[in-house]
């Protein structure tokens, strides 16, 4: 989803993924966001509230792959329902991370 200036007021929940901020020139900054809300206010302000965000180059693909395997194992295993749901969410985040890093 792209937001330009003077967008209509909107509230959007954010899935774990990449947020790209395109500044005046052709520079852009990318962050991986763990999830949260993006709110466009009537006064042309955009607020992105995320629990955690980090620049893309702070992640190591090796660690991501290893943790993804772990999470998938727990999700498919025989823990409690809560554990499995948590592991599923964890796996989603890692998959999104992998996808973002491989681009």
């Amino acid at each position: 989803m792209g937001i330009l200036a003077n967008h209509a007021p909107t509230i959007e929940p954010l899935r774990p993924g990449v947020v790209e901020v395109i500044e005046g020139g052709n520079t852009s900054k990318k962050w991986f966001v763990s999830g949260g809300f993006a709110t466009v206010h009537p006064n042309n302000k955009l607020t992105i509230n995320a629990v955690e965000a980090a620049p893309l180059d702070a992640f190591s693909p090796e660690a991501v792959r290893a943790n993804l395997q772990e999470a998938l194992k727990v999700a498919a295993g025989n823990g409690s329902e809560e554990d499995k749901v948590e592991a599923r969410i964890e796996a989603d985040v890692y998959e999104a991370l992998q996808h973002a890093l491989s681009k």
């Binding site: 509230i11 929940p13 809300f37 009537p42 607020t47 509230n49």
Partner: protein
Amino acid sequence: MLARRTLGRIASQPPALGAAPSQARNMATLREIELRLKSVRNIEKITKSMKMIASTKLAKAQRAMQAGKQYGIANTEIFAHTGAEEAGKRKLFIVISSDKGLCGGIHSSVSKATRRAFAEKDKVDEDSPIMVIGDKSKAQLSRALPKNLVLTFNQIGRDIPTFADAAGVADLILTSDVKYDKIAIVYNKFVSAISYESAVVEIDPENLLKESPGFKAYEMEDDVTKDLAEFTLANAIYATLVEAHACEQSARRNAMDNASKNASDMINRLTMQYNRGRQAAITNELVDIITGASAL
């Protein structure tokens, strides 16, 4: 001539019987002063080290607070645009303090603010629920408003608060069956490194957001109001927790600073007293010896 003069001197002195007990009393008080001096010195060491620790913790806490404050402001941005409706009076008060003492008036500041809010009978229902984070304020409020306490949290605030703590608190609040019209978070606002003041941040729960006219201006794909309300609550709790933590460290630093100053003043005074007493005892002994020798 000498003999007459010394006789006169002995007669003019206070009776010999009186001298011995006062000398004994002086020795006893000398010992007491020595003990007091030792204990005050130990206390001064302790308060000085607590002040050092609080100073280093304050530096870290202030940095976290800068980030947290921006987060809190961004969080409440949405409430600036959704008009403040006339809500019901049943407010859920979340009081933020901590478990540890020796930090000046932090805990009583939030407790007093809560009691003042309750005194405004036309704005707050009398049986509004209160949830307290931190044992110290819990003790104070359970004496003042015992019937209103619903939930208490402890072991929060030992270190810099994280979003995980705030999310945990928010989760427990939302899953409890407490009914409320609005949420008010009472915390200590950081004014400067030497002062703080109590403040209240109000959060609208889900149904209030839905009814507010300003809110309807926002487009939403699916209805995420409930998630938004929960997220804003957790964010607000996080921002206020971090700020209250910074206030607590600065208050503890100032309190321990004052305590160290008072302790060193006391040490000076006691040392003077001790030296004077010591010299008086020596002088008395000398006088006794001299009069005894001249009487021979």
